[in-house]
Amino acid sequence: MKKRTVIRKSFILCVTLVCLLWVGSSQAQDYPRSPVQIVIPFGPGGLTDIFWRSTSEFIASHIKGTIVLVNKPGGGGVVGTSFAVNAKPDGYTLVSANSDPLTISPVFTPNVPYDPEKDVTYIAKLAAMAFGIAVLNDSPFKTLEELVAFAKANPKKLKSGVMGVGSTPHTILGVFNRDAKVDISYIPFDSGGETVTNLLGGHTDLAVVSMPSVKSQILSGKTRMLAVCSPKRLPDFPEFPTMGEKGYKKSSIATGVGLAGPKGLAPAIVSKWEEAIETTLKDPKVIAIIEKLGGVVVDFKSGEGYKKELLADLATFKELLPTLPGKK
Amino acid sequence: MGRIFFYCNLFWLLFSVLTCVEAYRLRLGTINNPGPGFFPFGAGLTMLILSLAALFQSMARKKKVEKAIPQQPFRWWNIVIILAAITAYAFSLEKIGFLINTFLFICLLLKVVEPQTWKTAIIGGLITTIAANLVFNVIFQTQIPRGIFGF
């Protein structure tokens, strides 16, 4: 009796081991076998959140798996990013790789628990979001030059609302102040919405905001942009000049949305995603959805390309840190 | 009983001093340009004053009302167990997974805090776990961890 049970048990054990081995080795082939968790390091309702919720179904269909979006907000994106890059590199926990937590936070905020160069495997870049300098429609400044002239004559008199601290708009203002040799005071707000509200109420003279936050105000004629921070003029708003045209190319910083994972992610998994994302972003339906958000432009880059771009930005920001207003 | 209040106010006093010290290290700035430590320092200072005032009052006046004699024994161990159980739940959630954790948790509580029979505890645990699964995983599709057993 005993012998039979021993044999039976060892047989089951062997079969189990073989199955496990077989499953383990075919990991890359039939990845993803279970839902992949993509961490969104911002709260629900934010632009990044809406972006992913609008596009993840399409991406999921191309990678033939299920994507589950998880919000882990906090610390300007640091909390969620840290959670994901410190997770197991089995390909089932990824993160929306936004520029700010990866290029600005490590410079601006102390004790960020990851190294954007060593601890992250970059998978792809999906889109870029443009910012701009907005003023009320009845503002005395009709062009950027007028603004600069006034600012030069009246240092510290102009107040600019800025969305977020240790964020791209914060950096944009800092760089602009430096390059235009002016001293525009910065008033930080928590979100694009709040920044725009204060501009509308006349509490600030201008505002550095993301295009989606201010889109409806432009369309209703309440505000206009003195310049936009984008390499080319925006298709939605061709009447606004770019910062580059005005001679402030360094201030033309955009923020990117991408996908990344912890270090040590298998290259096979990375290329699967790259392909799926590239295909998704060619779909006109997806492009239409993304562009409806306003000021968001599809900008596909491979993992390597995105990494290069982000690390270059990181270096720039390291250099810029002392000029950032509010950082003494 | 008045003595308890004395200790409470002492606690707040210490807490506020600690806060002020930490806030000071964060840079107070000037009144015209407050730094990160300004606000916590102000709040800490206010608490300091208040707790000092309350401390003196509790020393000066004697509490006349006697606390009613409790009829039942004070089961402090229940408090400890509950808090420990929740803490254990939190730490093991991501390793063991939602369902097993819930089951163990409910069984433990039912058995220990207000002692039931083993049968009741296990049945209660099962019902709760099944219901919880239905509500959280099926209806809400919340992303509670699945743990190493995959469920």
Binding site: G45, I50, R53, S54, E57, N71, P73, G74, V79, P110, K156, K159, V165, I187, D190, G193, T197, N198, G201, P212, Q217, L219, S220, I289, K292, L293, G294, G326, K327 | C8, L26, N32, P34, G37, F39, P40, A43, G44, L50, Q57, Q71, Q72, R75, N78, I82, L83, I86, T87, Y89, A90, L93, F105, I106, L109, L110, E114, G124, A132, T142, I144
Partner: protein, 500 residues
């Protein structure tokens, strides 16, 4: 009148069977979401966002509006039944609502909550239609100095919120203010009191604190001794509010509506603040202020109405200016944007069916809420019949899951445990939780407004007094803070004595 014609048109849209169905689902899902603490309407809305692609814009709005209202009402349900605030705004409902449940009056509490919300919602929707544009413009005048003054006013009413020792309540306020500073300083990025914990980077989670302070501590208090007597009175005294209840509640409902709506218009105003204000107002106006906290129905009717009214109020800047005022409205805007609709002044012209459909759907949502929830009261009340030696474990489970789900972070549960213990101690030593919570919410807002104001004025304090709105708020706050000294000298002395 133009407006009524448009409104009828809107109703026509809403009353189509498909849309009614969406409304029903929205309210249903919203209520379920609201009952679960820690999951706010924002989370539910964002989960459903992909669904909205395949659904026409009007129906999307209807669905989303239903969820928002449903969630609000659901939050009150757990507050009343289990002393667990479903979301931050429901905290005040715990104070008297739960006590009513303890006395066997859970039904009337839930009922007046539903009716109050309905009445407030109906009235405020009409106010929305007629007053939105001028109100929105008024709301824009609120800059940082005005916010600061308003927050100071909010904290000053704390004097009237405290039922017991005022000194203890003030200590709680300071405690709340200090706790509110934990996290990355929003203005300079400097970490404050974080001690290398990523969980604390964004501050102590309000929901976790509140669930711990109210829900968990209540369980702890109940289990510390063998309960010979039932925690909840088994003889249910009626399922719906009776004549007497209605008589007492009409005033609070009306006042709550007004308070909620006008405070809700201010962009960025937490929905929680109007509920506190309403509670304090009712307490002050009542003949028996000392009974508040033991189950006074006015303490439920007023805040619940204020809650709903404030939610409608937050739609004012969203719809007329296209500015989101919180996560839920941001999602609403996002959903609109994905469909190519631009909220803002143009919305009415470009897509009248959407705008009026939304307005009509708000109303329909309120009706649906009532229709759905009144019968459910009987069901909810049965939950209280579960023997406490089993119920308490369910309550704790709900607390744990609620705390975890907000950020999918196990450490949030630890925060809840800590505050559960703290809340338990507070209950034993006569410290109140409400001032703590209010300070925790107001503190950060107040500090930011203060610092921003000084940045705007380059360090000058005059800014608070040269601007009419902020000056008037500050004067009011001063008056309120000084009034006890002049009007109720003996009461204050009594309270100080009690704190010793």
């Amino acid at each position: 009148m133009e407006v009524f014609k448009d409104l009828l048109f809107g109703f026509g849209v809403v009353l189509q069977p498909m849309n009614l169905l969406y409304c029903f689902f929205g309210v249903l899902i919203g209520t379920l979401v609201g009952v679960l603490p820690g999951v706010g309407p924002a989370a539910a809305l964002s989960l459903l966002l992909p669904v909205t692609f395949y659904v026409p814009p009007v129906s999307t709005i209807i669905l989303l509006a239903g969820i928002t209202y449903g969630a609000m009402y659901g939050g009150s349900t757990t507050s009343i039944l289990l002393n667990i605030p479903g979301e931050a705004a429901s905290v005040v409902t715990c104070l008297d609502g739960y006590q009513m449940a303890r006395k066997g009056r859970a039904g009337p509490a839930l009922g007046i909550s539903a009716f109050g919300s309905f009445i407030a919602g109906t009235i405020t929707i009409f106010m929305l239609i007629f007053l939105a544009p001028p109100l929105a413009n008024f709301a824009l005048k609120f800059g940082p100095p005005e916010y600061f003054a308003l927050m100071v006013l909010g904290l000053s009413i704390m004097v009237y919120l405290a039922s017991g020792s005022i000194v203890n309540a003030l200590i709680m306020v300071c405690f709340g203010l200090i706790l509110g500073t934990i996290g990355l300083d929003q203005m300079t990025g400097v970490p404050r009191f974080i001690y290398k914990s990523t969980t604390l980077m964004d501050g102590i989670g309000l929901i976790q604190v509140v669930i711990g302070l109210f829900g968990v501590s209540e369980v702890l208090i109940n289990v510390e001794r063998t309960f010979k007597r039932e925690i909840f009175e088994t003889k249910m005294k009626g399922l719906l509010p009776n004549r007497e209840d209605w008589r007492r509640s009409i005033g609070p409902i009306g006042r709550g509506t007004v308070i909620g709506f006008f405070l809700g218009i201010i962009p960025g105003m937490s929905v929680m603040i109007p509920t506190f204000v309403s509670y304090v107002v009712e307490k002050k106006l009542s003949k028996y202020p000392e009974k508040f906290g033991t189950g006074m129905i006015e303490g439920v009717a007023g805040p619940e109405s204020a809650n709903n009214a404030a939610s409608t109020g937050t739609l004012v800047p969203t719809l007329s200016l296209g500015i989101p005022t919180g996560a839920a409205t941001a999602l609403l805007l996002g959903a609109l944007m994905i469909h190519g609709l631009r909220p803002g002044p143009l919305l009415i012209q470009e897509a009248p069916d959407v705008f009026w459909g939304l307005v009509a759907s708000l109303y329909a949502g309120n009706v649906m809420l009532l229709v759905l929830n009144l019968p459910l009261i009987g069901l909810w009340v049965k939950i209280l019949k579960i023997p406490y030696h089993f119920l308490f474990s369910l309550i704790l489970l709900l607390c744990i899951v609620g705390s975890y789900i907000t950020n999918n972070n196990a450490y949030d549960v630890i925060i809840m445990v800590i505050f559960g213990f703290v809340g338990y101690l507070m209950k034993k030593f006569d410290y109140e939780a409400a001032p703590l919570v209010l300070a925790l919410v107001l503190g950060p807002m107040m500090e930011k407004a203060f610092r921003r104001s000084l940045m705007l004025s380059d360090g000058g304090f005059g800014i608070f007094f040269t601007r009419p709105i902020s000056a008037s708020f500050l004067i009011m706050a001063l008056l309120i803070l000084l009034s006890p000294l002049f009007l109720k000298r003996t009461r204050l002395r009594e309270n100080l004595r009690a704190g010793g």
